[in-house]
Symmetry: C2
């Protein structure tokens, strides 16, 4: 296989990048100054050496424990459970939450062969036993797998002295009632709040 | 800047990849086996060494002249002018054309400061003088810049004993009259063909 086709094949393994997009990217890289692919190659080849998972929360980090777990100004009584490491970044970008995180590493999905033991639920229970967590926020996607996982964790924690909450479902800010799907609208009615 | 942000910044310089997509790609790469980013890094770092432009047609190639320019079974009396190297691949994939190519390296776009001298029009004239080209096919995008460039080249070649053609504009195969835009429909009527 020649160099361009090889690059196209590798790029098309990325999520959301089909063969046509991969070709477009490969030719763009070919037409870039040589410094660009070299910088990208450098970044890719050192990535797995410089980034690991935080031994406390499971998020990707360059220092272990990660900056969030070691930040004394964050509220240790709040713990937010997310599916993947990138969800930590998304929630941080919203600038609303000042507690800590726990990365599950996936969602319970029996059809895909993912059970509770494949997630970091054991570590979560240990953390809840050691730390003085007052509230556990389940910030999982509002999908069948997300809801199943939330219910599973909620059941596990029934006897523990802490509040379990989940993110609100409802209309996106700036959205239009007319374009909301039936389930989202139903949830936003069920979860209506006093003004 | 940390390793993940650095990769995100580099990836978001690719066409069609915004910051959100770049983050998604970066986390996907982080979660891939280490062999994947290493393979991609290897491909990127050798790309500019193994791929150069064909000294005859200007297309990207690993051997100079390129396989198309040196293929004796191709019709040397047909020359297809394209904007960029990737257009050669697109036309090859259609499996209809058996002549040779000439890559212009761009289109005349006065607003972007691209004039005829920035393209390989001089090389094209030399090739037409040396080779026995019978027909020149202008396969440029049906845009203002593409049409301007086609007209410019057509004017240059007026006195030469060769036929100049351009690709047909019209309805896409499998398309719907109702969704065709006015200009495309007008061109397809003007260019109607006897059955």
């Amino acid at each position: 296989m020649n160099a361009i086709d090889n690059l196209v094949t590798l790029l098309s393994r990325l999520p959301g990048i089909g063969k046509k997009s991969a070709q477009r990217l490969a030719y763009h890289i070919l037409e870039s100054p040589r410094s660009y692919p070299l910088a990208l190659a450098g970044s890719l080849s050192t990535l797995h050496d410089s980034v690991r998972r935080c031994s406390i929360c499971g998020a990707f980090t360059e220092s272990d424990p990660c900056p969030i777990c070691t930040d004394p100004s964050r509220d240790a009584s709040l713990l937010c459970v997310v599916e993947r490491s990138q969800d930590v970044r998304v929630i941080e970008d919203a600038r609303e939450y000042r507690g800590r995180f726990h990365v599950l590493g996936g969602l319970i999905a029996p059809l895909d062969g993912v059970g509770p033991d494949d997630l970091t639920i054991g570590t979560l229970l240990t953390r809840l036993g050691n730390d003085r967590v007052r509230e556990l926020i389940l910030a999982l996607n509002p999908t069948v797998e997300g809801d199943t996982t939330s219910l599973y964790i909620q059941n596990l924690l029934k006897s523990m002295p802490l509040t379990v909450t989940r993110l609100a479902s409802g209309l996106p800010v700036g959205g239009d009632l007319e374009y909301a799907d039936r389930l989202t609208l139903a949830r936003s009615i069920r979860g209506r709040i006093p003004m």
